[in-house]
Symmetry: D2
Subunit: 295 residues, 4 copies
Amino acid sequence: MKIAGQVSLSDLPRICPLLCRKTHPEYGETDTRVVEVRGVRFGGERPVVIGGPCAVESQEQTLNVARGVRRAGADMLRGGAYKPRTSPHDFQGTGRDGLRILSDAREETGLPVVTEAMDTRLVEQVAEFADMIQIGSRNMQNYPLLAEAGRAGKPVLLKRGMAASLVEWLGAAEYIAQQGNLDIVLCERGIKAFAGGEYSRYVLDLNVIPAVRAHTFLPVIVDPSHATGVAAMVEPASRAALEFGSQGLIIEVSDPSSARPQCDAVQSIDPDTLASIVRFAHARADSSVEKESFA
Amino acid sequence: MKIAGQVSLSDLPRICPLLCRKTHPEYGETDTRVVEVRGVRFGGERPVVIGGPCAVESQEQTLNVARGVRRAGADMLRGGAYKPRTSPHDFQGTGRDGLRILSDAREETGLPVVTEAMDTRLVEQVAEFADMIQIGSRNMQNYPLLAEAGRAGKPVLLKRGMAASLVEWLGAAEYIAQQGNLDIVLCERGIKAFAGGEYSRYVLDLNVIPAVRAHTFLPVIVDPSHATGVAAMVEPASRAALEFGSQGLIIEVSDPSSARPQCDAVQSIDPDTLASIVRFAHARADSSVEKESFA
Amino acid sequence: MKIAGQVSLSDLPRICPLLCRKTHPEYGETDTRVVEVRGVRFGGERPVVIGGPCAVESQEQTLNVARGVRRAGADMLRGGAYKPRTSPHDFQGTGRDGLRILSDAREETGLPVVTEAMDTRLVEQVAEFADMIQIGSRNMQNYPLLAEAGRAGKPVLLKRGMAASLVEWLGAAEYIAQQGNLDIVLCERGIKAFAGGEYSRYVLDLNVIPAVRAHTFLPVIVDPSHATGVAAMVEPASRAALEFGSQGLIIEVSDPSSARPQCDAVQSIDPDTLASIVRFAHARADSSVEKESFA
Amino acid sequence: MKIAGQVSLSDLPRICPLLCRKTHPEYGETDTRVVEVRGVRFGGERPVVIGGPCAVESQEQTLNVARGVRRAGADMLRGGAYKPRTSPHDFQGTGRDGLRILSDAREETGLPVVTEAMDTRLVEQVAEFADMIQIGSRNMQNYPLLAEAGRAGKPVLLKRGMAASLVEWLGAAEYIAQQGNLDIVLCERGIKAFAGGEYSRYVLDLNVIPAVRAHTFLPVIVDPSHATGVAAMVEPASRAALEFGSQGLIIEVSDPSSARPQCDAVQSIDPDTLASIVRFAHARADSSVEKESFA
């Protein structure tokens, strides 16, 4: 009994020739492509730490958090203006207003901004305000959106789908690359498995990190906030991710001065914890840890 | 340690008030909304059987298969004009030409047509040619696409995401309903689990069928072709799905006269096997099997 | 990066030469070995239906249920005397007393008895009272227990582990076969996957049924009670299992006259529902449904 | 539709009152019970590193590896004398001879020994030679074996089942504790999920580590060898586990002087890599990393 649709990592040269180490030998067996976002270098000497609110709710909240992120020493600001929500009746984000607020926050703090695009017709709008376009987990296989993001002239942060194999993930990245844009950063954010929901939101799959680095030259980072869903786990998960080879982190940060935010508060950390993660990331990068070869 | 983002079936009245039996008591505890597609009645007296090729490759191939589907006694024709493929370098479908071919096949066979829309900007085009718009697994949480499909004036077939919970699936359907379109048919098509890939492509999750029927009044069907990925399993899986409460089937059918088709041939059945499934579906509906209450 | 411990169905001839169709061609490509238990024939003309309480709690309760099972037309009696429980502080079964009660129930009803053995040192005791020894999911890879069961001179019912691949399951069966006992019946009982717990207890994996039948000549049955964990799903799941090629069912039946039993009441059905399942099984076997070849 | 058998972490006080922080408040909210094995202290100031061969194959091989483990600065020796194998026709271990070899290796190197017991009737024999009894993943819910291990007078290393929830795992530990033995060390070793087999053997679930520490006072360690199945991943996985709160590691080490060992060679590391892991573990423990509270 043959099974349809079976692919494995050995099919990568055919599936993603633009991104596969084997078919694109410019980067050799271990080098990472450096993806620059307004001077922030993914795949460079130091891990990149991105912090910010789950959603951009207001100017004040976003600026408060952005200042905390900057004081913590992080490199970039995140925050959702368009939010994919399980229910259409839930808060859907502040949209264009949110993008403007993020842009203001960048102006004040100097932090480059990454934010999610969900609609092909709004990618251009997002690209106008943001420095990096995020494609969320739910849209990892929304191929028209990937192509649009690839054409928008900005680097793209591509989150792994909740049930995506590595082949499917790199295949999705190839849709961006096909538009002539190799400035792609991959992001592991937890997968669906039987263990999800008992003590954490998803299962953080760090095994994928060295596998990504063995098969493609793109940088890969980790989202410990969604992968755990538990604020107390974010710091240990961040350190673990860096030790496992992650080249950066994207973390939800709360505004301590504000009331309960509209989504995912339970997994947000405060700026002090973020500062502790940044110190760890920098100290680790600056020490003489030998670089692993994952090939 | 609290976990972010936890929702359960008890949250359905808040998440999908338009589709939930509890908040929309018009259909009582067991009645199904009948969704009509050019006279074909999902949720009616008999299960609906949809057959057709994986992809619309040519006029000849599609007409050959469509005639086989019609001779087999099935109710509708399926076929992908726009195909979501793991790699951008694989065959992406025949697009608008494919839609025209499907339209021709309808004209000749009288079978209403369902085909997938993947791009918000092409939903209108798809709706122009097709009688029912399919949203595929990969796009189950592509919310702008769901809204666009909801506005297109045609019934929508919403496939379950490969890792979607029931709450997430019904939440996705609510995005369609919110546009004023309750003509939605749900479709289970196999989920990702450790067992996938060893002896079948996905894990067919029939337990979800009575759960869907208990929580919403929308009809639900099963795609045994993708759920198993093995041609020899399609007929037993079809019968099992009907016994478990499925109100229809969507099945890939091959063109025996043609050479190897461009995708998923291993899971396609021939028209004779489809005829056998149709006979089973009709005999079962016509006999005096007591109706289950899943409430 | 090579991965340790990878095996696939193509390794079966090496892993289980005694049970694999390819290496043990006596049964051809589709024949099933008939496993007889006091005249009940697994793999024979009709599916075997086993019913009984989750646990043997008392003489009265067990006899009440056994009479209901007999009246329903089922073939065998199930019931746990030794119970594997998540907590050591929960009810652990009635042990040897329970075995004696099962033996009395057989005497009164004529139904052969299957019950679980959990301890290598008690297999002989279980075999003294029971007609068939059950190895539960939790012990599917308890190899000394499998060997002991293989030596006990009675047929063995081997449940699939909650996360067992088909190779692991057949490998476990081979431990029994190695002792010279080929009277083994396999039983699918639901697997662990992300969907478990939302609307059903486990995910019933019916795709495995034709795969089992393609690769080994042993009969395979389904436990719809544990696989769903929901009484209202047991009947549709039973019918679905038979349509998918299952050669029998093992079902939990409640004692309507008694108070709440000590375990798993929520998934037990009453004798009338069991009777309806038996009628379906017999009608299906007696009608002219063509036999599938799964090879 | 109610679902049978649903338990959650809030049921822990009932399921494992002997091991639950809430019902056994002696250790407060964050203290770990120190489990001593011949002077090696699990849950003490430094993480415990255990190294050794997958299987004890010969005196020479075991001594070679044991010397490497000792030179690397690790704390204990592991090695299987009784091996649970998927096929009964595969190498089953060297049994009592293997135990004697481990005992000799302890004599020469001073390293305490942990080895697996699989058979209730051999626990006493294993306890005679070993300093710590390992219960493997496949036997996590072999309750008679757990009870026997609890009575054997030696500390027990309890690996998590491949599909065990946290409640099931702690429930299993409670069977040991019920015998009056609280000297239990838990070990995460990878779980089954859709991602297993593509780029790693299992999915290493580090989220469970802080959850274990929040709910019980028992120490918890990680097996990066089985969890990844890839030698090149073992070192980064080890560091990640320690950063995530793991209190030790158990690692497969190969004998560089020998030919291909009989099992799992692909995941074994050499003694130099082990030494690097030990240095990391000690440096981390000795530096001023703040201790997390997981409560």
